[in-house]
Every structure is written in C-alpha cells, then in structure tokens.
Amino acid sequence: MIAITLNGATVSINAAPDTPLLWVLRGELHLHGTKFGCGIGSCGACTVHLDGVPVRACVTPLSAVGARVVTTIEGLHGPEADRLVAAWTHVDVVQCGYCQPGQLMSACALLRATPQPNDAEIDRAMSGNLCRCGAYSRIRAAIHRAAVPAPSAD
C-alpha cells in the first residue's frame, strides 16, 4: 500500500509503485475528471497538480508522488479556480470538453504564479495542453478575464 495526499485527504492505494498516477486516479480511485489522452505527456489532458505544480499524471509514477500533495480537477478550489470556472463559463470556452479539466489545471497554476499573465506567458503555460476542438482563443480570453484586475490608479 502506498499512501498519498489527494484533494485534502490521505488515500491508501493498492497498486504497483510504477503505476502512472493517471491510472491510479482513474482505475483505482475512479476519479474520472483527469483524462487519458496520449500516455506520453504530450497532450495535457491528464494535468494534475503536485504541490501546486502542473504535471502530466500519465508519465508520473505513483512512486514519484512521495509527500507532495496531489490536486485533481475534483479538488481544485480557491479564488483562482473560482474565477477561472466563472470566466470559462462566461466566455463559453468548452466544446467537446474532454481536454478542459487539464486546461483548467494548467491555467490555475499559471494564475497562482502569475496573476496577470501576458499572451506570451499564456502561450508558455498552456503549450502542453492540446485541444482538438480548437478552443484556444477562448481559453486565452478566459484566462485574461480570470486574471486579477490591475489595481486602480488612485
């Protein structure tokens, strides 16, 4: 048994240490918000946070998690997450939606590190998240909308 901290709780997992975190989440814990897309860390559909840092769960073995806190879309909370979901809804980003949990995970990590990202910073932070429906321009608009408003000049 391997214990990890997941979405605020300690979870014991009966899986081989080399099992990718993605398949622990989906296959063992039935948390289906984290998606399988490529298996090689190339599409970002499986993006989760380890201590707040976005990683690809499909290429992260269970044994590599260690003491780091795992956050999935099911456990994504806080002001940045709330603003992102509100912005995603307002802009109406979603098409098929399969990649969107991963997009939100990457965007949330971006906003927490860079509250007012410019386009180049968005490009960098989101480059690992593929969207075959092509929602990119709306994702960009939603991130800008969710960014902390600039302090007023007075």
């Binding site: 398949w23 989906r26 998606k35 399988f36 979603v94 098409q95 939606g97 399969y98 490009d123 990119y136």
Partner: protein, 761 residues
C-alpha cells in the same frame, strides 16, 4: 452511367437497407408519450420532451454531443416553442426509435449540383427522405443535425405547449385562446396561473396535436440568440461522462494490440507471460470488425494492468495484403492514373476542349493531399456487457444505430437484443461514424462471463488504426483569354471512395456505383465557368478510409481554391475580383466574399515589418453542407523561414443562425482543426504500417500557433444549414494563397511546407 441512373440506383439501394417502404404519417416524427420509457414523477408529451412534477423539462437528444453544441441548440428549439424557462431545461439521450433517424444527411448525400433544382433532384430527395424516415439510422454527422431537426424539435415544443394550455383551459373552464405561456408559467387573464409541473399529469392524458402553430421569427425568445453551452457545468467540474468514463459494478478493462500492418491478422500468439501478470483475467484473439484490423486483447481488473499485459503478449502476425503498401507509392500511383483516366464527370458544361484550344494562355497544375487521422482527444474506447443473450453498449459514437448492429453481429444476436447508451464524445470529427471498435469490444466482452468490459485503445492504436481521410491527387487545366477572362476549367481528381466499402460492410450491399464524397467540393461549387468538366476517378486501394471533418471538401477546397488563385494571378487580376466575376448569378456567395474582403482590409497594404519578415494575405471561398464560407488568412514568414498564421477573418452564411454563439465556436474550431491539417497533418504508411503514433509525431496546432480569428455571421432568414464542417475547407487554401502572396511560393501538396528560399543574409 448518367446521373439519372445513379439516382435511381441509390434510392433503390436506400430502400434495400430497410424494413419497409411505408410512409410515417405527416406528424410521424413527433412520436407519442409511449415513445419514451416512463420515469417516475415525469410524463412525456411526445417523443421529444418529458416534464416532471418538479417542473423540470427534459428535452430528448437524438444527436450525439461531440463538441458541436447540438444539445444546446436542440434544447433551444424545443424550449422556445414550449415557452419554457431556460433554467428548467435539461437534456437526455434518446432511445433508438424511427422518429430519431437522421433524414437530412442522407438527402444531402445525393450527387446534385446546388444549381440543379429540376424534377429529378426533387423526386430523388423526396423518395430518399421517405425511405430514410423509416429505414434509416440515428446518425450525427454531415453537419446535418440542426437542419434535420429544425422543424421536428419546434413542432414537438409547440405540440407540448398546446397540451399544457389545453389542460389549463379544461381545469379553469376558460377558452384556450385566452391563455398565455411565458417562461414556464401558464397564465389566464383572470390571474389564474400554473406551472408546467402542476399541469403535466392532466396534459399527458390529452391527444397529441400534430398541427400546433409554430412561432414566427419575431416571436422567438431563445432561437437566434447567442446561448451558452447547456452542459458547461459538468464539463468544467470533470463530472461529464464521456465513453471512457463509464463505470459499472464489476467492470473489467481491456487493452488491445492490433496488427501493425493494416488489415493483418493473428497467426499465433503466446499469452504465457501476459497471463502471469497481475490482474490478468483473459487473453483473447479478436478479428477485425467493419474494416478494422485483427489483434489480441487482454482483459484485466484495471486499465493499467490490461495495458501492461497486452505489451507482454507475443504475437506472430500475418501481415496480409497490405504488407508492401507505401502511401508515397500509392499517391504517385493516383497521379499516374490521371495520365490516362478521364474519371466520372460529376459536372460538365460547354465544350472544354474547344475552349482550351482557343485560350491565349493555358495553366496546368497538380495538387496532392495526404491521408489524415482524426486524433480526437478521447482515444477510441467502448464498454459492452453481454449477459443472458442481451448486450448493452456504452459508447462515444456518432451512430448508435450502426453500433447496435455491429455489436449484434459480433455477438450473434439480433439488433433488438442490443441497447446502446450514447455518452458524451471527446471529439468525433467523423471517426466515430465507424463502428469497428464496437464490434471489437462486443467480441471481447463475450469472454467476460457477463461482466461489463471497457476496451480502451492506446493513442498509438487510435492513430494507427483509424479510418483515414483518403489521399487524393487532382490535376487542373484552365484557359484564359487575352483580357484575362476565364474560358475553361478542367479538373480531374483520383482517389479512394469511402462509401462503397462502408455500405458493403454494414448492409451487405454490393456497393454504390458512385460516391459523391469523392468529388464534393470540386464539382458542386458556384463558379460560373464558361466551360468546365469536373471529374473524379475512383481508384480502389485497400487503406481503411472514412469520413474526416468536411470529407471530400477538406481537400477538394484546397485544390480548387488554390488553383483559382493561380489562374487569377496568371490573369493579372485581383483574386477577389477574379472570383466575383464568376459569381454574377450567385449573390449569396458574392456577398460572403465581399464581406470578408471588406472586413479583412483586402487590398490595403499590410503593415511593414522591420525584422525581415514577409507578409501576405490569401482568400478562399467555399460552400459545403448548405453553407457558404469565405476566409482571408494573413501570414508572416519570418527571417528564419518559419511560417506564422497570424489572423483569419471568416464570414459565414449558414442560413438562419439558430445559436450564433455555437456557430462562432464551430467557426473558430473548424479553422484550428483545418489549420492543424494544413500545416502538420500527414499520415504516412510504409510496409502497410502507419508511421505516426502519438501527438509527438502527429502534430496539431497549439495555443501559440492559433491565429486571431474574427467571425461574421451573415443575417439570414433562410432554412438553417450546416455549421460543424463548412468553416474548415477554406482555411488551407486561404493560408496557401497567403503564402504565395508573401513568398511567391505556390505550395501544391499538403501539408504546407515552405521550401527554404533565397538567403536573406
């Protein structure tokens, strides 16, 4: 064979698919309260809507939601005529019944030129609609959903509203004409009011009216407004159930490895090592279904155990008939075919040979398009439970009717013993119109002793066992006179047909003689050529091919709209003006083209760049699936010869815009999907094996490569037309034409790869 013979044969073939020729009555698509299974606390008013005593309105969805927003749009159609409040509306997938069959897409498949409005066309369309209504299939594809259900969903809403009003009138002893309905509340001038939930029990006992009046456009509350996606909340929370998210008690997981050579089979396999691995329950050989390739599957307790173990199965393959197939050689062969073949003329007008002989200048060119994979984000998967002679299929599919048939055949049971539960699709793009994976999953589930089995393909299996967009080669000859006017246009393309093998596999039909999808986008455009012959030569090849977003239009638009640009430049004319001169009798097309020129700043110089970049604009106009789309792309080729597509302006006329927000989404998405193909998309095959396996070698556009996209929707009161596919075809030629404007390089094969031109040092 002439067109008339073809139409008659097609209609006869369509009839042969079915169970009967009888026409449903005029209100046949409305259904009645028995169409839907009963639910406690709810009652159906027809086949499209149930209302609960808790006041929820459940709108029944016969189309698969794969990102195109159709659930939102269909719910809008019904809710508006019902005068429901949008907040009380939710959606639910329909069962499989004849009223849910897709009529529009089959009618659209008939090979008529858009200008042909003769008796033969109208008769063929009417006969086809009649046959398909009874014998057709539930199908989401061909950009047909809104046009298919524009009237039925509204009629269902209006009929349900009339029943609620009648129930209120009876209860209150007042004339129905004095009752109004707004935002889910039924009201009388006396002040009496009731919610739908309060009236549903009585309303459900009334006869279903088939002639309830529909709203005029001026009365619409929801229709025509930019509504947000109805399923946003679950998709953002990660709780929406895609096919791959189906979870059932006792479920097993299967992973498959198919013969790397397309069409190959299993000679033998050694499951020893795999069987000894953790969680492995069964190792089973599976045939190829519906054009798919045979392989071996491992069933295990978890998906990861299945994936690990399938790699440990040692398989000896029979590589089969495609063992020596090379896509490069096949595409060369298509070109060689055009040395001698004339093809079947889908459109012929005037004396092309004579016109070409009299031309001052003749222009010739050859264009090529490669095979393409769909690469939807959700890898192919399917869940099947087979117990007590009955099967349930949970799948992301565009064709539940065909999925049912595929499972039934694989299990040796009748169609009626299979239930298909359609889940959200993590992208479809046409891949999920093929049911190879359903037959495969059913065959695997057969060994699981009644347990549900979820089969999940790896991304590599998904890309290497797709049904690819057919490769195609086209040759053009055009003639212009001294004044630069077009005199004649000859276009012959060669490639595989995709419909005949699909019809053969699914319906045991000997195959249709012609396949419109091969030439669509070439023969059916609006240009008023003084003389033209537009033909396609079908070349049988064994590569599995299928419907890829926009189908024939996806490459034919690139060919035609690039070549017309070449001719315009050769004629020393502005590409927009040159096209407009060929559209004098097509004001709808001309208007779209003029609008995109105006919005994009066509004809004005682009801002000069000081960094050695070269810039250019390109235009393309294309009509498909009933809609007309024009795009202007702006590109920048930087000093390192790297291409950047910086801006795309798009104008679409898709008839009445039912949900402008979803239309914009589809335009934006279609442009990005088409751009991925134009810049990166290429599936190559060597020794019968697809060379690309994942997103690292089958690239797609990402955030940084996405241009600024500006969209204008032409206001229209015409019947709604297709939206999911029409925005895609113009992007490749618009970009190619922009590259020419920027660099003088005419790129004729796809994908568009810049040659390193002269040094700028």
């Amino acid at each position: 064979m002439n067109r008339r013979t073809f139409v008659i044969r097609t209609v006869a073939a369509a009839g042969a698919l079915g169970i009967g020729w009888s026409l449903l009555p005029p209100r046949g698509r409305l259904g009645d309260r028995d169409t839907l299974p009963a639910k406690p606390g709810e009652a159906a008013l027809n086949g499209w809507v149930r209302i609960g005593t808790d006041n929820h309105v459940t709108v029944i969805m016969s189309k698969s939601e794969m990102g195109q927003g159709i659930h939102t749009t269909l719910a809008m159609l019904l809710a508006d005529e019902l005068d429901a409040d949008w907040s009380q509306v939710r959606t639910e997938m329909s069962p499989q019944r004849a009223i849910y069959n897709n009529i529009a897409t089959v009618v659209d498949g008939l090979p008529f030129h858009p200008d042909d409005d003769g008796l033969i066309r109208r008769t063929a369309e009417w006969m086809t609609a009649k046959v398909i209504r009874d014998s057709g299939l539930m199908l989401t594809g061909g950009s047909s959903s809104t046009k298919d259900l524009w009237l039925p969903m509204r009629q269902a809403g209006a009929s349900a509203r009339a029943m609620l009003v009648r129930a209120a009138a009876d209860a209150w002893q007042v004339p129905a004409a004095d009752i109004t309905v707004a935002k889910g509340v039924v009201q009388h001038a006396s002040g009496r009011r009731a919610t739908f939930g309060e009236l549903i029990a009585a309303a459900a006992l009334l006869p279903v009216p088939g002639d309830a009046p529909l709203k005029t456009a001026a009365q619409f509350q929801l229709i025509g407004t930019p509504m947000r996606r109805i399923e946003n909340a679950t998709k953002l929370a990660g709780t929406a159930t895609f096919g791959i998210d189906v979870a059932l008690p006792g479920m097993r997981y299967a992973s498959v490895v198919m013969c790397p050579t397309l069409g190959g089979t299993v000679q033998s396999f050694d499951a020893g090592a795999a069987t000894a691995m953790p969680g492995v329950l069964h190792v089973v050989q599976v045939d190829g279904y519906h054009g798919g390739t045979a392989g071996v599957a491992v069933v295990a307790d978890t998906p990861w155990h299945a994936m690990m173990a399938v790699n440990a199965v040692k398989v000896t393959w029979n590589h089969g008939a495609m063992a020596d197939l090379s896509s490069a050689q096949e595409i060369d062969r298509l070109a060689k075919v055009l040395d001698t073949a004339d093809g079947h003329a889908y459109y012929s007008h005037g004396d092309v040979d004579m016109a070409l002989q009299s031309a001052a200048t003749r222009i010739e060119a050859e264009y090529r398009a490669p095979y393409l994979a769909h690469a939807a984000m959700e890898p192919i998967n399917c869940t099947v439970q087979f117990a007590n002679g009955r099967a349930t299929v949970w799948a992301s599919t565009q064709v539940p009717g065909l999925a049912r048939r595929a499972a039934a055949r694989a299990l040796g049971i009748s169609d009626g013993d299979v239930d298909v539960q359609v889940q959200f699709l993590g992208g479809g793009f046409g891949r999920r119109l093929v049911v190879d994976f359903v037959g495969q999953a059913a065959a695997i589930a057969k060994v699981a002793n009644g347990a549900p089995v979820q089969v999940i393909w790896s991304r590599e299996q998904d890309l290497r066992h797709d049904f690819y967009r057919p490769a195609c080669v086209a040759r053009f000859t055009a003639g212009i006179d001294d004044a630069g006017r077009l005199l004649a246009w000859r276009n012959t393309s060669a490639g595989q047909a995709l419909l005949p093998p699909i019809l053969r596999r699914l319906f045991d039909l000997p195959g249709i003689p012609l396949d419109k999808t091969t030439s669509e986008g070439a023969f059916d455009q609006a240009y008023e050529y003084p003389a033209a012959r537009i033909a396609h030569e079908t070349v049988p090849l064994p590569v599995p091919v299928g419907f890829w977003r926009a189908v024939g239009h996806s490459h034919q638009a690139f060919f035609t709209e690039s070549f017309i640009d070449e001719v315009a430049h050769m004629a020393r004319q502005d590409p927009v003006a040159f096209r407009l001169a060929l559209l004098t009798k097509h004001p709808r097309h001309a208007r779209v083209l003029q609008r995109v020129a105006a919005l994009s700043g066509w004809g004005t110089p682009m801002e000069p760049l000081s960094d050695g970049s070269r810039t250019g604009r390109g235009v393309a106009l294309h009509s498909s699936f009933g809609s007309v789309v024009a795009q202007v792309a702006e590109v920048r080729v930087d000093a390192a010869h790297v291409l950047h597509v910086t801006r795309v302006v798009c104008v679409i006329d898709c008839g009445f815009p039912v949900n402008p927000n979803m239309i914009r989404q589809q335009v934006e998405g279609g442009i990005v999907f088409g751009l991925s193909a134009a810049l990166h998309g290429e599936i190559t095959i060597e020794k019968g094996q697809v060379q690309q396996g994942n997103f690292n070698d089958y690239q797609a556009v990402r955030m940084a490569g996405t241009p600024v996209i500006e969209v204008e929707i032409i206001p229209s009161t015409e019947h709604p037309e297709g939206v999911g596919e029409p925005p895609l075809p113009p992007i490749a030629p618009a970009v190619a034409n922009a590259i020419f404007a920027a660099t003088n390089q005419r790129l004729r094969p796809l994908p568009l790869r810049l040659a390193r031109i002269e040094s700028t040092a």
